[in-house]
Symmetry: C2
Subunit: 429 residues, 2 copies
């Protein structure tokens, strides 16, 4: 049976990416071609808009607006991180019924897939005919089933270029440079730093992903060795490096993050007026009355400090690559943009199709004669909502390094062409 | 008298930029066309290479290598921050004489101009015929005389795009976001953040440059107001914000940097083995035995913390934009690249010319019928070596904001075209 005639709601959820709007506009563009979807509503800030009836009428948007939005980074509808309670599902479905919503698309990572799963289960329980499709996006590339996630290729391109530029910078003014890369529990984005290497002695010379245990003393030893070998060291460190390594976690065990550990040594003794007052829940104060600076922003600085103080190296710097990784408008990978658009299109095709199964659009590679090619398919929401995947274990060599050949084969088509650095010939040095 | 026949040395100095290699290759390209310069030597790491006789033979480089290097960010010859002593000048000139060096080009900011000035004075004192030309580059845009500096346009493009992306990100997930921008004593690069604004409510909503005094309590008040008005706040803060404001400094007075002030509240009580040992000069320990984390990396985090704790806002983040500002290979402004090449070319033309005066290549605007156009001229080294310039006072309005019309008129041609963000029409919210 073809999809019912009715209205559709689409929302965006989780951290923005450079191409999440491509998927969004892909879905609208496809829906316009068919009669099943009568009006397409964009929920402002995902679940929040669905709770408060804040929608953008999407079919009324002029083409040039859709075109511009598809090329704009981050989530044009607004995003959110929130899992709906059953009470909230009740309110959402009251609205859905009034609005005759028969299609629901949710763009996001595995948490968003969980939201889609909850909405889908609620509809089934209510016997309300609703076709739910999750559209994948993450910069972390940590969704199960799919070969890769839209959003990752562009973030990887940013990281590759940041390291490429920083490698040149570090060659020009030698020292130790530590860059902290996003991806709390998966090393795919940190691994992309190796695309910055174009010549034998290029950095990053050390790459630390959350999958493998991080030992500060071993780290210092390898920084020391690298600095002695190259006169410099460019280092990629995931924000999620931890003591055990994700590979070694037992079921239910939480990673002990290095950022948390390092932050625990920081005391911020600000003048009293700048310290949190009694009822302030925005900041955390531990049982000792110490404040903790959240996040991984400080990790790079403290690691740099430890390198300086223990290895006696003068020029040690760190950067936390930060939000430009997910929203810089000049590092969009063309392949990533195209595929992001396609998963939006294919979500609508699946939703209005004759044989509908709820699910998430997943990508598989179907390379032909060595030429990169993909197809999509629908994987049940259940299959991707709870867990995430790690960097494949068999892409790590015995000495704990990234298998560069395997990883480049995987990642290069997603990132596309990169700038090429020049090197002198016949240099007298 | 036309320039003597002899060899030339060129060096790069100070912090890298995205286009410093264009100037470098511009100089080689032009020199190849003329007979005066017999061989062109590239000094490795500036003064250092000149002291240790580490040179790259530049005329022997294949064209494709020069082409690639011109498009590579950061300093291909290697850079340095060092002012030669008179003893070092003696050693340099011993080498110069042996090598028959008659032309010396030094690419850098005002410190590099000072080095060129020292070399030039030494040559004059020794009555050694040497033609010295300084080729300008900075991302800070703080050189005197010249209308603007090569390197600035690309850095400004990076900053504009980072804010543009971050503005979208901050609209999607609302909160307070503080970005720390390079430029310790001049606000030009921080000011470029306003190019991220494309629509009336876009950020950055607050911009703090080193020229104006930074008062943390007034800052918190304006963050509070902005957050109440917009439900979010995107903030640009120069790494060099200080208590007095550069405009108000008396002669010889040093700015009291906010980063130093905030870092003074941080105690890092690391396990003893990670603390500096007796003879370690890489890190500073104050008279109280406290360690100080150098640089401005922590400033954003601490400011974010203070916003959280005093204004009780949950989602407060900060990024320090870091080295990608000066070396990201995908944010090169075409105009900047072209002009960087031109100042390299014009340095050689000046050096081999009939009427030679030592100096630095400076840019002036000679717009015709409203079309952006520049010419270069030579300004004496003396005129730019000691001091730097600030953001023009008459580009600041009475309420302390950047005069957006004046500044955009100045900066837009240097940055070139920027991506354009899309916005919905007929939004129900």
């Amino acid at each position: 049976m073809a999809g019912p005639k009715g209205n559709a709601v689409i929302g965006q959820s989780g951290g923005p990416t450079a191409v999440i709007n491509r998927s969004f506009i892909g879905a609208i563009t496809e829906a316009r071609k068919h009669g099943e979807i009568l009006e397409f509503y964009g929920a402002r800030h995902g679940i929040n808009g669905m709770l408060n009836n804040e929608y953008v009428p999407l079919f009324e948007q002029p083409n040039f607006v859709l075109q511009q939005i598809s090329c704009t980074t981050a989530a044009a509808l607004g995003s959110i991180r929130h899992k709906p309670s059953s009470d909230e599902c009740n309110r959402i479905f009251e609205n859905f019924k009034k609005m005759n919503v028969r299609y629901f698309f949710y763009i996001g990572g595995n948490d968003s897939a969980e939201t889609a799963y909850i909405i889908n289960s609620f509809a089934a329980h209510e016997k309300y005919d609703l076709r739910v499709v999750h559209i994948p996006k993450t910069i972390d590339n940590d969704l199960l089933i799919t070969d890769h996630c839209p959003g990752y290729g562009s973030a990887a391109k940013y990281v590759a270029c940041a390291f490429m530029g920083d490698n040149e910078d570090n060659r020009a003014l030698k020292g130790v440079k530590i860059n902290v890369v996003m991806g709390r529990n998966a090393g795919f984005l940190t691994a992309a730093s190796i695309l910055g290497r174009q010549y034998p002695k290029d950095g990053p010379h050390l790459v630390h992903m959350p999958e493998s245990p991080f030992d500060i003393d071993l780290f210092l030893k390898s920084v020391d060795k690298t600095f002695k070998d190259h006169g410099r060291a460019l280092i990629a460190v995931s924000e999620g490096i931890n003591k055990q390594g994700i590979y070694n976690l037992k079921t239910g065990e939480k990673p002990e993050y290095i950022s948390t550990w390092l932050n625990s040594f920081v005391n911020l003794n600000l003048p009293k007026k700048y310290m949190p007052k009694g009822e302030n829940k925005a900041v955390e104060v531990d049982s000792h009355g110490n404040v903790s600076l959240s996040g991984s922003g400080m990790m790079g600085d403290i690691l740099a400090y430890i390198v300086k103080s223990t290895l006696n190296i003068k020029r040690v710097r760190s950067d936390t690559l930060g939000y430009p990784q997910r929203s810089f408008p000049l590092a969009i990978s063309e392949v990533d943009a195209r595929e992001a658009f396609k998963v939006g299109v294919d979500a609508v095709i699946a939703a209005i199709g004759d044989h509908f199964d709820e699910g998430s659009v997943a990508i598989k590679r179907v390379d032909q004669d060595g030429i990169y090619k993909i197809e999509t398919f629908i994987s049940p929401l259940q299959s991707i909502q709870k867990n995430t995947r790690s960097f494949p274990k068999d892409w790590i060599t015995e000495d704990g390094k990234i298998d560069e050949r395997k990883f480049r084969e995987y990642v290069s088509p997603l990132v596309g062409e990169l700038p090429m650095a020049g090197r002198f010939v016949k240099a007298i040095f």
